[in-house]
Symmetry: C2
Subunit: 249 residues, 2 copies
Amino acid sequence: MAIRRFSEKNLAREVLHRIRGTRNPRLKQVMASFIRHMHDFVREVKPTEEEWFRGIRFLTDTGHWCSGERQEFILMSDTLGVSMLVDAINHRSGGGATESTVLGPFHRRKAPLYPLGASISKHRGDGVPCRVTGTVRDRSGRPVAGAELDVWQAGADGFYDSQKGKAMNLRGIFRTDANGLFHFRCVRPEFYPVPHDGPVGRMLTATGRHPMRPPHLHFWITARGYKPLITHLFVKGGRYLDSDAVFGV
Amino acid sequence: MAIRRFSEKNLAREVLHRIRGTRNPRLKQVMASFIRHMHDFVREVKPTEEEWFRGIRFLTDTGHWCSGERQEFILMSDTLGVSMLVDAINHRSGGGATESTVLGPFHRRKAPLYPLGASISKHRGDGVPCRVTGTVRDRSGRPVAGAELDVWQAGADGFYDSQKGKAMNLRGIFRTDANGLFHFRCVRPEFYPVPHDGPVGRMLTATGRHPMRPPHLHFWITARGYKPLITHLFVKGGRYLDSDAVFGV
């Protein structure tokens, strides 16, 4: 019989050695980095076996909350700032361009195309009427004609249409005019919570955080010859602007 | 309307700032460390949005494989060396004591108590008969009388009894004699794979690894006045001794 020896120090090295045969070089790079950071984390916090098992249970629970309508791991990524970090890495805009944000779970394909000036709100109870005007410009400040703005928002009750059924409401597509101008009507955005009845909600509570997103309109702007831009417009002075639960501001 | 700015650099700092109100100081420490290492990992590998989503899907899939009989997140922890790292942190034995290992998923409570010399194998088809003898000693080398050894092993088919039904087989409890001696019969341990038909199995394959554990007997040794010890005995010259899929050797 034989016994070999691993220690806290050389275990990560041994795990890295084991994946040396990974064929996909990108996977090898990602796995190696993950293994190093994960072992660093564990060596730093020195979890008891009970704490380790709590972590296992939290991940398991998070997985079990994921379904066709609910993505609890994306919510975890959002609320830990990871989604916005990935967004920032992939959309380094630099000098003066509008900041980008993540698509989020509430965008829907094939929203209705409306003429400028139309309202995306179809029901009186959607919220306080509101008018939005603006201009799409390129980096050098020139207006972009014919740019498409795909707009969506939650109603005053804090829900998007897709959380309530299949009918489309509070979303639509507009095209800028020859001067790059757009204008449409909607309802005044109100703050609303991300889903917080699951493990991520428990994590937010345990770490002294609220689940709220500040009032905003979501935009996906495309124009021929330009990179698409997904962004938010936030209501000036709106609540939770400085503590957006998903770091999207 | 207002836009605030986060960058790759200051986002982790902002997330850490948000959890400043965490009441449980240990949770605060663990979460802060996790956030720092997770953001470091993401900044290092710079995932595309598609890669990020693959990660989300992998975690979700792993969660969905977890059930009453299967714990895929523990398997992931085992195969990335994290379980053994936690074990090493919590059971620093130091000078000369037998190395500890994790309990694993196959221990069962209330195995039958046998007299010394009995066999834990109840069926002729369990494997090649084998005899085990040894002495339990304390750190100073003195034999420990009346120590309890809870022993369990897989059969030659690579399965533990609990993977095949409720009946107990290939496990039992023995007590050392007045000289600290124990001896019992079992079957020769054979190598066997960890469950590899799920996401962790795919990860092993993609990183050029096999799912095998080298042939071993599992022991949980307890004695009044001593710390319990969970350990393995491995067959000298057995296959996979240098590439145990869960780093337990």
